[in-house]
Point group: C2
Chain length 313, copies 2
Amino acid sequence: MSHDSFENGCACIDGDYVPLSEARISLTDMGFLRCDATYDVVAVWKRKYFRLNDHFERFEASWQRLRMSPPLSRGEMREMLDECVRRIEVEDAYVAMILSRGMALPGVRDPRVMQNRFYAYATPYVWIVKPEDQEVGTHVVVCKETIRISNEAVYPKIKSFHWGDMVRGLFEAYDRGGYTAVLTDADGNITEGPGFNIFAYHNGVLLTPTTGVLEGITRRTVLELAEELGIEARPESVTAQVLTDSDEIFITSTAGGVMPVTTLDGEQVGSGWPGPITLQLRQRYWQAHDEERWATPVASPEDIRHERGFGAP
Amino acid sequence: MSHDSFENGCACIDGDYVPLSEARISLTDMGFLRCDATYDVVAVWKRKYFRLNDHFERFEASWQRLRMSPPLSRGEMREMLDECVRRIEVEDAYVAMILSRGMALPGVRDPRVMQNRFYAYATPYVWIVKPEDQEVGTHVVVCKETIRISNEAVYPKIKSFHWGDMVRGLFEAYDRGGYTAVLTDADGNITEGPGFNIFAYHNGVLLTPTTGVLEGITRRTVLELAEELGIEARPESVTAQVLTDSDEIFITSTAGGVMPVTTLDGEQVGSGWPGPITLQLRQRYWQAHDEERWATPVASPEDIRHERGFGAP
């Protein structure tokens, strides 16, 4: 039945592994028809997950707050992620887990009665800013026509597919010559952009916004590594003016790590080149992917049989 | 290949007609992974569409504002809707048209390069409030913990699947003994609920909110019919207090028409029974489904051949 190979991605749908391009969900999935789903994305680097447990914990907090419950245990979900990663046969992968509200029965709209559904997929590692573009830094626009969906409407701490504000912001950024966008909240504070958090190095302190943001695992990692490196860093409200006055700016995401920003609204940031704090943190970030505290090897089928007590092969 | 019948619904995916329960879209559809889609829903009543052109016009305005473009002409989309309706073999149907941003190529996130995709489906007519429940009226809660996604984040006039605020509001309504929810905006003005607009008959004037709302076709129909009936009616900001002080409340949707509300936040509205203005408008609304200005028969294949000049069968 499969016409494509797994090299561009592998998905697990209802226990079946299929090439990502052939993965299908129901048209009536409320994850689609109501954007009623949550997800998380973990990176695999050199065949090791980075902070897998932290991603699972955030994922769990998200579905609990949405009053969902996955049909599988964490161990079962983990096995599906492992198998998706193995099938694409790459060292470095982007691995997504999705929990959807599930399908509505005909004419039934009550989300409480729907059976939640789990989907997983892995693709070769995704870079929001490609490595070669990171060398010169990327171009960010602070949107004026679009603001972030407020916390009082949809919780930003629950990772969701509510990207209408982000896509609208992207078009504004393209129109103004930017590569990507960041949105403010209704009070004019910087929040985040499509798939990433933002950091500003300002007056010798590394700042990252606190409101209207997903608490990114890469963001957390940068805050922790900054502390280890003796760089003063704290989550704090960041106005557009503070961002403009910063010496360095970078964005962070599981999809690309620590990515330098060298123009803001068309104006040069600092020297116009990726700054020393940014480069130091980016280097440490990638080094950390091999450290035992955060790295979890992708399991082989033999590992799984062994853990279950079936003995080594 | 089909295991289900068409009686619960028929979908058209890439030109194929399938039972709705078997209709599938790609997991990588940005309509799912980014909620990047718009849709519209038109009713068929006694095998006639109600205000089909108005729905197509709103749909067109929505995708234009999202900078999308359907892969089909309006005539081709219409033929798909017709065929979906014919296959379910009912008199009264709920007919949906969806335009999605489409699939991302591996690693590509730019919405400008994606090929937009059209999906259609029809089901037997859907009632947000079932006819037997309309006889006593339904129970609405004004949410206190959740507000509507703001116009500055996601345009409410573009019909979209951004329902995170609505689903969160529904859970609050359930917790407080309600059947459904309405949300206010950040200024405390009433907006709308999951899939419906709201009307309040207050001091002899029929009011309906203006901000944070989709401009529903049923809402427009009620405003037009009220004028014909000599009922003073106008779109105007409605506070939660005005709603509380109203003599009658009803909600409107293509999925259910004019539906009386008889408790608000657990308190009786007016007499506690559907009021005379509500009942008069509900009656006129259903009568109007047979009027030539608004009714368009579902075409048969013969009609279509005839229009195309292939001659009658």
